[in-house]
C-alpha cells in the first residue's frame, strides 16, 4: 500500500464515523403522520462532488449544483452530502470513488461544466461507490439560460438510476395568482422557478386542472361574465371555452385515459351535480342526483371511481362512487368540514382539506376509510388545496402560515416541509403536471 492510498484510507475511516451520524433532521418537525416517516438512515446517501466549470461564468456551476442538490434532496430518496472546495477537473477513478465507501455513501455524483458553440454542456457522471463502477454518464447540452433545466434533467436521471422511477424535477405546476390584481393562471417549474402568467382574462380564473397528456389545462373562467370552463392548449397557445351553461360550472377534472372530464354544474338542477363530458364537451352523462351540492371530483388512478365533496348529509364531507354514479358511500366522518379531495396517482391515499379547531389542515385517508390522519401541523393559519406530485410522493398545497397565501411542498409522510413560492401577492390552487 502506497503512502498516498494510506492517506485515503485514514481519511475515509474518519468520515465513516462522521457521516454515519447523520442528523435526524425531522426531530423538530411538529407533527408526523402515522409514524410512517422514512428515517434519514433509510435514504440513499449520495456524495456530491463540487461541480467544476471551465470557461463558464462563475455563477453557473453554483446554480446548477444548488439546483441539482435541492432536486436530489427533495426527491425524498437521497441524503446528500456535498464537499467543500473544488472538485476534480477530471472524473474520479474507481479507486477514488471506492474511498467514499467508508463514508457510507452509496453513490457519488460528479459533474463538469463547459461550453460548446455558445451552449452549456454538463457532463454528468454517477458512480456506484461499492464497486467504484460508473453507473451513468451523459452530456446535457443547452443554452446558458436553461442551466436549471440541465440540472433537473441530471437529477431525474440519477433518481431513475437508483430507483427505476421517473423523477419529478422536470414537472411543472399551474396555479392561480393575483399578482396583476386579477386572479390569473400561472405556470412555474416544480421548485418555484420560472413563474409566468398564462392567462390574460382580466376577470377571474380559478381551479386549473391538467389533462393526463399534459397538453391542456382546463380551468374555471369568468371572462364571459359567467363561471364557465375554459381550456388552454399550452403546446399551441390555443384557448377556447368548453362548458358555458348559465350558472356555476366547476372543477373540471380529467379521467386517467383523458377521455372524460368530470365537473360540477347546476345547469340542470337547483344545486351542483356531477356530470361527465367527453373532450368535445358534446356527450355528457349526469352522475349524481342529490339535494345537496356535489363538487370537486377527483378520479381514482384506475378511472373506475371518483371521490368528491358533497354536503348532502348537512356538512361538506367526502364521498366515493363508481365512475357511472353507482355505489355512492360516505368516506369521511371526522370533523364537520372535509373538502377538495384528490386521489393519489398510486391510489393508496386521498388527500383533502379538513377543518380542525376552526382551521384548515391537510388530511389523508385511505380509500377504504380505515386509516388516515392530519398531515400538516397545528397553528394559526390555514392549509388548503392539496395537489399530488406525478409520482405520488409529495403534495403541494396553499398556506398562509407566512402571511400571504403561498405554495408549500410536503412529503406524503408529513416530513420535508418546504416553502416553494414567496411574495406579498397570493399564490393558490396548485395543479401539478402529469409529468
Amino acid at each position: 500500500m502506497t503512502g498516498r492510498s494510506l492517506l485515503w484510507v485514514v481519511l475515509g475511516a474518519a468520515l465513516a464515523v462522521a457521516v454515519s451520524i447523520d442528523p435526524a433532521g425531522w426531530a423538530d418537525e411538529p407533527e408526523v403522520f402515522l409514524n410512517i416517516t422514512k428515517s434519514e438512515a433509510e435514504k440513499i446517501p449520495l456524495a456530491l462532488f463540487p461541480l467544476t466549470g471551465a470557461g463558464v461564468a462563475a455563477p453557473l456551476p453554483v446554480e446548477i449544483e444548488q439546483t441539482l442538490s435541492a432536486d436530489l434532496k427533495r426527491s425524498s430518496f437521497f441524503s446528500v452530502t456535498s464537499t467543500v472546495g473544488a472538485g476534480g477537473a477530471s472524473p474520479p477513478t474507481a479507486s477514488i470513488v471506492q474511498l467514499l465507501k467508508s463514508t457510507g455513501a452509496k453513490g457519488a455524483v460528479w459533474g463538469r461544466i463547459t461550453t460548446e458553440r455558445d451552449e452549456l454542456v454538463l457532463e454528468g457522471r454517477l458512480f456506484d461507490v461499492a464497486s467504484g463502477r460508473q453507473m451513468m454518464v451523459k452530456r446535457y447540452v443547452g443554452k446558458a439560460d436553461y442551466a436549471r433545466y440541465i440540472a433537473h434533467r441530471f437529477a431525474d436521471d440519477i433518481v431513475y438510476q437508483f430507483t427505476g422511477e421517473r423523477g419529478i424535477a422536470q414537472s411543472r405546476v399551474a396555479f392561480v395568482s393575483d399578482q396583476t390584481r386579477q386572479k390569473e393562471l400561472w405556470l412555474m417549474d416544480y421548485d418555484g422557478a420560472h413563474q409566468q402568467r398564462i392567462t390574460g382574462d382580466r376577470s377571474l380564473s380559478l381551479s386549473p386542472h391538467w389533462t393526463p397528456d399534459g397538453r391542456w389545462i382546463t380551468y374555471l373562467c369568468y371572462r364571459g361574465g359567467n363561471p364557465d370552463i375554459c381550456g388552454i392548449d399550452i403546446t399551441q397557445n390555443r384557448r377556447w371555452k368548453l362548458i358555458t351553461f348559465p350558472g356555476l360550472n366547476l372543477s373540471p377534472t380529467w379521467s386517467p385515459d383523458g377521455e372524460w372530464m368530470a365537473l360540477a354544474t347546476n345547469h340542470d338542477a337547483d344545486n351542483l351535480e356531477l356530470f361527465l363530458f367527453d373532450r368535445s364537451a358534446k356527450k355528457s352523462r349526469r352522475l349524481t342526483f342529490s339535494l345537496g351540492d356535489d363538487l370537486s371530483p377527483s378520479w381514482s388512478p384506475t378511472g373506475r371511481q371518483l371521490v368528491f365533496t358533497s354536503d348532502r348529509g348537512g356538512t361538506p364531507q367526502l364521498y366515493i362512487m363508481d365512475a357511472d354514479g353507482a355505489n355512492i358511500r360516505r368516506l369521511t366522518y371526522q370533523g364537520d368540514y372535509n373538502t377538495s379531495p384528490t386521489w393519489s396517482p398510486k391510489g393508496e391515499w386521498i388527500a383533502y382539506t379538513c377543518r380542525r379547531n376552526g382551521r384548515m389542515r391537510l388530511c389523508l385517508i385511505s380509500p377504504d376509510g380505515r386509516t388516515g390522519g392530519i398531515l400538516t401541523a397545528d397553528g394559526e393559519w390555514n392549509d388548503e388545496s392539496p395537489a399530488w406530485s406525478p409520482n405520488g410522493r409529495h403534495l403541494l398545497f396553499t398556506s398562509n402560515r407566512g402571511g400571504s397565501y403561498q405554495l408549500y411542498l410536503i412529503q406524503k409522510d408529513g416530513t420535508g416541509l418546504e416553502q416553494i413560492t414567496q411574495g406579498a401577492e397570493n399564490r393558490i390552487m396548485p395543479a401539478w403536471s402529469p409529468q
Partner: protein, 187 residues
C-alpha cells in the same frame, strides 16, 4: 449542536478528500465524448404560451366578448349579509330584501345579477358553491315577493371578491354577502 459539529467535520473531511484528489493529480481516465450519450436540454417553456396580455386567443368558432369584471353595482339595492357557512336569509335581512323588492317592482326595466360572496374561511371551490346558494336564496326570496324571476340572474364569486381585506370577523361579516349588479349580457 453536537450534530452540527459532526456535520462540519464531515464536510471538512470530504473537502480534504476532494483537495487531496486535486493534489494527487488527475486520474488517467480521459473523457471519451464519442461514447457518451448527449441530450439536448430545452426548457419546457418552449411549449408554453407567452403571457396573454391581449384578449385570449380563441378558436374561430367561439365568439369572445372581453369583460373586465362584473356589471356595475346598483347602489339603490342594499347588500344582504349571511351567517358563517349559511345561505338562509337572516330575519334582520328580510326588511332589506323587501325594500329591494319594492325598488325592483317600480324600476321594471332593470335586470339584476345577484352576486353571492363568502368570507375567506373555507376552501375556494366549496365557497363558490356556497356563494351560489346565497345568490339563489336571494333570488327565491325576491321572486316570492313578486319580482319576475326572468329579471334576476345569479353568479357566485365565492371568496374571490372580498370588499374588506382584514383577516378577522370585522371584515368577514361584510364579505359574507349578496349584492346586486346590473346584468351583463353574456359573451
Amino acid at each position: 449542536m453536537a450534530q452540527t459539529g459532526w456535520n462540519r467535520f464531515a464536510f471538512l473531511a470530504l473537502g480534504l478528500i476532494a483537495g487531496a484528489w486535486l493534489l494527487t493529480g488527475c486520474p488517467k481516465q480521459p473523457t471519451k465524448t464519442a461514447d457518451v450519450s448527449t441530450e439536448q436540454v430545452k426548457p419546457p417553456s418552449a411549449a408554453t404560451p407567452k403571457p396573454a396580455e391581449t384578449p385570449a386567443i380563441e378558436t374561430p368558432a367561439v365568439r369572445e366578448q372581453e369583460i373586465a369584471g362584473a356589471g356595475k353595482v346598483i347602489d339603490a339595492l342594499k347588500p344582504v349579509y349571511f351567517d358563517f357557512d349559511k345561505s338562509d336569509i337572516r330575519d334582520d335581512m328580510k326588511p332589506v330584501l323587501q325594500s329591494n323588492a319594492k325598488w325592483l317592482t317600480t324600476n321594471t326595466a332593470v335586470k339584476v345579477q345577484i352576486e353571492g360572496h363568502c368570507d375567506e374561511r373555507g376552501t375556494n371551490e366549496y365557497n363558490l358553491a356556497l356563494g351560489e346558494r346565497r345568490a339563489g336564496a336571494i333570488k327565491r326570496y325576491l321572486s316570492a315577493l313578486g319580482v319576475p324571476a326572468g329579471r334576476l340572474s345569479t353568479i357566485s364569486y365565492g371568496e374571490e371578491r372580498p370588499v374588506c381585506g382584514q383577516h378577522e370577523e370585522s371584515c368577514w361579516h361584510l364579505n359574507r354577502r349578496g349584492q346586486f349588479a346590473e346584468a351583463v349580457s353574456r359573451g
